[in-house]
């Protein structure tokens, strides 16, 4: 955070026009401390400026957003990543989340919503777009019946609780955290903790299904 409490943000996207658009949409709500249009430059500059949040394009030449996360995460764990994408291909989205992004939003997201997402990620929460929520529901639902035979399941990590499922469903239906809290009569903090729990499962689950599912899904 800077002196005024606004999160310091770094933009990584190979499209100049898009960076300019995001910059103007974010406005004064955040402090943009830098931008980069390719993977090596991004890694260098992020390590130098240490922003709170990196807004990261999933698709870029030279390994994409995933490569940036994998380079920064081990040396600067405090830097958080929010993935932005137009692609919506599940393998990309799941890949960037499993690499360590705290959230994923589509590029069609409105300005205020993007600011909200950045603030949330800066505060340590997870941000799920409806599509990501849908992917997670799909991935955790598509468990083959013979799964138990293929390897041990960690019940803690490899299953979604009914409540988490409910929250994800509402996100997929386009509800905001506030609306979800009202719908389920729980606090916003509880919604946030459910989403963070799901994010953790998504990142740590040993289900090889998850990656396999994401790749297969693209082939359909």
């Amino acid at each position: 955070m800077n002196a005024t409490g606004a999160p310091r943000v770094f933009l990584v996207d190979d499209h100049h026009l898009f960076r300019a658009g995001v910059r103007s949409e974010l406005g004064d709500a955040v402090e943009v401390v830098g931008e980069a249009d390719e993977v090596p430059a991004a890694i260098e500059l992020i390590a130098e400026r240490l922003p709170d949040v990196v807004l990261l394009d999933v698709h870029m030449p030279g390994g994409g957003g995933k490569a940036v996360i994998e380079a920064i995460k081990p040396i600067h764990p405090s830097v958080k990543f929010l993935a932005l994408s137009v692609s919506d291909a599940p393998e990309d989205v799941i890949g960037v989340i499993r690499a360590g992004a705290r959230g994923y939003v589509t590029k069609t997201i409105s300005g205020p919503e993007l600011v909200d997402a950045v603030v949330r990620v800066a505060g340590g929460d997870a941000v799920f777009s409806p599509r990501l929520a849908g992917f997670v529901l799909d991935a955790f639902a598509s468990m083959p019946p013979d799964f138990e035979l293929r390897g041990p399941l960690d019940p803690e990590l490899d299953h979604l609780s009914p409540r988490e499922r409910e929250v994800l469903r509402l996100i997929a239906r386009g509800y905001t955290y506030k609306e979800i809290a009202r719908e389920l009569t729980i606090s916003i903090k509880t919604v946030e903790s459910h989403v963070s729990a799901v994010l953790r499962k998504l990142q740590l689950s040993t289900r090889h299904q998850l990656t396999k599912w994401a790749t297969e899904r693209r082939l359909i």
């Binding site: 589509t106 069609t108 409105s110 409806p130 599509r131 929520a133 849908g134 529901l137 799909d138 639902a141 598509s142 469903r169 997929a172 239906r173 386009g174 509800y175 359909i220």
Partner: protein, 410 residues
């Protein structure tokens, strides 16, 4: 209807629709079931009793209440039924005195059936009672057409009665020498009498059934057509009115509509339908809605699909209703984006269409707003699904469409 639940069919019925319901339950042909029922009746009369009991105890298709449930509180009806007990005793007494095994075996089932029918008649729903009265009246007139010449009817009546009396006489009288000819000839004469007397009644009953079914199919087709015309033509006209000051836009809309209408009328492709050349799976259909609505209305549509399924007629109807809801949101909500969420579960497919627009007071929408009533609710109901519309003025609208699925049924 779910196979496994036993109900009285409204589609396949001559009297109560029990054969139809049984056939649906067993997965057999209804004619086979009817023949078996008639045979059990001829053997002992037990078939009639079972039939009447089933009539009392089974709910009609689409209803949850049985006639018996209503009959319990029908005191007068129960009194009437109890009054039949002494008659039964009397019949049995007379039968034993006369050694008429026929009367003692047939008397009880017929009387029990009569008692059941009294309860059925008194407690059936109005439409079923009307149907009963109609059939019974036709039976009393022996199926004669009202405009038929009385002389023809009298000749038929005379012939029928003559054949009947002859048949009874031949069976009962021992004058004929060949013992095996007697029952055979008598039975043939009785059958001939039945055909002459009751044949026209059965014929009329069957014709009425066919006519009723055709009328219902026509009504459903009309509703479907109205929904489709609404989806395409009326929607386009509304859009043309809204962009009346933009001639180019109007021309574009009109051309597109003309193309669509032509392909529907002359090539049999329904507007907004997902035919052979269109989507084959639910998720592809959702993507098509996403694309089409974005292109036609310049609004962002975010669709999320969890799970997938090949398209069948029910899912196509779900998609058509969902498309209607999306178009409505695009046109009226004033929001910049619409969210669609589709989830395929083993026993249900749900579709949510949500906007954060103006919303509306659902009570204030006039009943003639075809969009919601026909294209969404009616369409879902015709396919066994439901549509729930939640809207708060100022906060937006969410349409929830839900369709039960029957795994294992093709």
């Amino acid at each position: 209807m779910v196979r496994g639940r036993f109900y009285r069919s409204r589609e396949d019925r001559i009297l109560a629709g029990i054969a139809g319901g049984l056939a649906a339950r067993l997965g057999r042909d209804v004619t086979v079931v009817r023949i078996v029922l008639v045979l059990t009746t001829l053997v002992s009369g037990l078939g009639v009793v079972c039939y009447v009991l089933a009539w009392l105890l089974l709910p009609a298709e689409g209803s949850s209440e049985t006639i018996a449930a209503r009959a319990i509180s029908d005191r007068q009806g129960i009194t009437l039924v109890l009054a039949l007990v002494p008659v039964l005793v009397l019949v049995l007494l007379i039968a034993s005195v006369l050694h008429a095994s026929f009367a003692s075996s047939w008397g009880p089932p017929l009387l029990i059936s009569a008692a059941g029918l009294v309860l059925v008649y008194r407690n059936a729903e109005d439409d079923e009672r009307a149907w009963l009265v109609d059939s019974a009246r036709a039976l009393l007139q022996l199926g004669a057409e009202p405009r038929q010449a009385p002389r023809v009817f009298m000749v038929r009546l005379g012939t029928g009665i003559l054949l009947f009396v002859l048949g009874v006489f031949v069976i009962a009288d021992g004058a004929l020498s060949h013992s095996w000819l007697r029952p055979l000839g008598g039975t043939l004469l009785l059958i001939a009498a039945t055909v002459v007397l009751l044949g026209p009644w059965w014929l009329r009953l069957a014709l009425d059934l066919v006519r009723e079914r055709q009328a219902r199919i026509r009504a459903e087709e009309r509703a479907d057509m109205a929904a489709r015309v609404h989806d395409s033509v009326l929607q386009t006209l509304a859009m043309i009115q809204r962009s009346a000051d933009q001639p180019l836009e109007v021309a574009k809309l009109a051309r597109a509509q003309e193309r669509e209408l032509r392909s529907w009328l002359f090539e049999g492709r329904a507007p907004g339908s997902f035919g052979a050349e269109g989507a084959l799976t639910l998720s592809a259909g959702v993507e098509q809605i996403e694309r089409d609505v974005e292109a036609a209305h310049g609004i962002a549509v975010d669709a999320v699909t969890v799970g997938d399924s090949p398209l069948d007629d029910e899912l196509r109807a779900l998609l058509a209703a969902g498309r209607e809801a999306t178009v409505n949101a695009a046109k009226w909500s004033g929001a910049t984006s619409v969210s669609i969420y589709v989830e395929v579960e083993p026993k249900r497919v749900s579709m949510f269409v949500r906007d954060r627009g103006a919303g509306f007071d659902s009570d204030a929408i006039a009943g003639d707003r075809k969009g919601i009533a026909e294209s969404i609710r009616g369409r879902m109901q015709r396919n066994g699904g439901t549509a729930v519309i939640r809207s708060v003025p100022g906060e937006g609208t969410e349409v929830e469409l839900s369709l039960p699925r029957h795994p294992g049924r093709a």
